[in-house]
């Protein structure tokens, strides 16, 4: 059973409502997330980016990266740009599985374990963990590599993932990535 590190919604111009509260948390997750991304290839895990298209149905990964770099916090985007050739899935709604080819991509690559990094802990990360669990995928949450808007809800979300979706909560340094 192989592992995929999935980086969720980190190509963000940070100009939306709630962005101020979010960036405080993102500042702390950039470095651990960059570490996970670097380890992913070395340890034989797949690396997959999933990002919202923000309603633009003509966007590519390059355009989403460019737009995020022109946003309010390029310093939070630049260290997490996808390495060239990285698999990239565009989503339109809140979970990485809803009306995307992600489930198919994971099956093609024989991935049974997903490590969910990125934002927002109590929203897209929680929902994606649920959708992964429903599909009988193992889920790991690197707690220092997921960013929240609302701290109390994020803590509850992590408990829900652990109790009800059998997710493993670990530091990014401790994530199992090997096959």
């Amino acid at each position: 059973m192989r592992t995929a590190v999935i980086v969720v919604d980190m190509l963000n111009p940070y100009d939306h409502e709630d962005a101020d509260r979010l960036v405080d948390s993102v500042e702390r997750v950039v470095e651990p997330t960059a570490g996970l991304i670097e380890r992913a290839s070395g340890d034989g895990a797949e690396l997959i980016y999933v990002n919202d298209n923000y309603g633009d149905w003509n966007s590519s990964s390059e355009e989403l990266a460019e737009r995020a770099l022109k946003g309010r916090r390029p310093d939070l985007v630049e260290p997490l740009l996808p390495p060239e050739g990285t698999d990239f899935v565009i989503k339109a709604r809140h979970t990485i599985f809803y009306m995307t080819p992600l489930e198919y991509l994971l099956a093609q690559k024989e991935i049974g374990h997903v490590v969910l990094a990125g934002q927002v802990t109590e929203q897209c990360i929680l929902y994606s963990a649920l959708d992964a669990y429903v599909r009988h995928l193992d889920v790991t949450i690197p707690t220092d590599a997921v960013a929240h808007i609302h701290e109390e809800l994020a803590e509850a979300a992590l408990k829900m993932m652990e109790r009800n979706m059998r997710a493993e909560l670990v530091s990014s340094a401790e994530c199992r990535l090997e096959a």
Copy 2:
């Protein structure tokens, strides 16, 4: 835009893990839920039951009801038995939408607003509210007609539904059911 009252997983034999913690909460929701079920037809709302099949792929609504009545707490089941001819959707996993015909049924009946009653607040109700929101359905949670296992997580789940899924939280008596 029409409304459907959806009764989730109330045909339960209460013999699973965590059932003890759950029944304390269910005891309090039976009466308000029975009230909602009665109002549903009078006010022109649709009434739909969705229930887990507990892994039995040959079960009908009658069999699920019978099994629940033979379980540990028939007193919590009997007042909530589906009125004859009620639409019934069987599910196998945690949300009422995953691999069920519910989305199709709602579209056929031109339903744009769902009232989610039943169990478990911080599990199937939360997940179903999310799946409804992702599908652009309006969601109402009658807070006295949803039962939980873990009180603190249930409270966080209600906040998540209100903040992040635009759900309306009201008492069952105040639920809008009319077309």
Copy 3:
């Protein structure tokens, strides 16, 4: 990789438009289909019925069987009634996969090969073969156990399944059912 024999839409009251053309063909497939159903258990294959609910969202397998037996051709229904306890999936639209739990059920039972028997060759059988192929399932069509309305289109459908969905076309007696 295990095999499932899937019996599609054979609980039919035969009172719909086109039923007259269909029954001519059904008369010839009843016996081979009954043979497949009998062999399924003996050879270690799963047997699964999938049937349309004809718009009645409160129907069980027993009710669908009863209604079909009260229809115009009970002689075509009676020999193909599901053995007690058979897995039963209710569908609302034209393919056995659309908004049904079939994909989940097949994965749970580790089934990688489906034998599609029943009706209508150039409609539900064709569409279901496609949906199975898209999901990377192997498909076998027992050509003497599928019934058509329109002979010429049925022949084209069989060619499409063979050429474009890699389906194996064999007689029901030759179907591989063993694990």
Copy 4:
């Protein structure tokens, strides 16, 4: 109810098996398809491209166009390049709906009628017409703007779409595109 003209798989390098048989047919559909594309904006229809990613999960519309232009028949690609800013959906399997956001995109734009142009008549066009019909979308097939590999199967596919999926078969010049 609005209309979308959907251009399917026309960014093709034509280097796959069966490409020789396909290009004979594509040569005849390029001009009518270009006409439809031009009319789409003028008549208030949406224009959407859906194209296979040929297994490359890092491809954008620009890269798929570039690769097709470097293929064996750039003359069949160049006249059908998507106008700048055109909505673009990438697919991995045989129908334009399977594990893509197309259904969501159509609902967002309130589209109830799809005109399916492109390739291959007896494969992706047939399957996509089915998936559209199952979702209660109206379907029009411009018969001079769909290309086939196997003429006899393509003719049967068109009959199936007309008889069993209520598709309207017309020339591209006669397609209704207005709202």
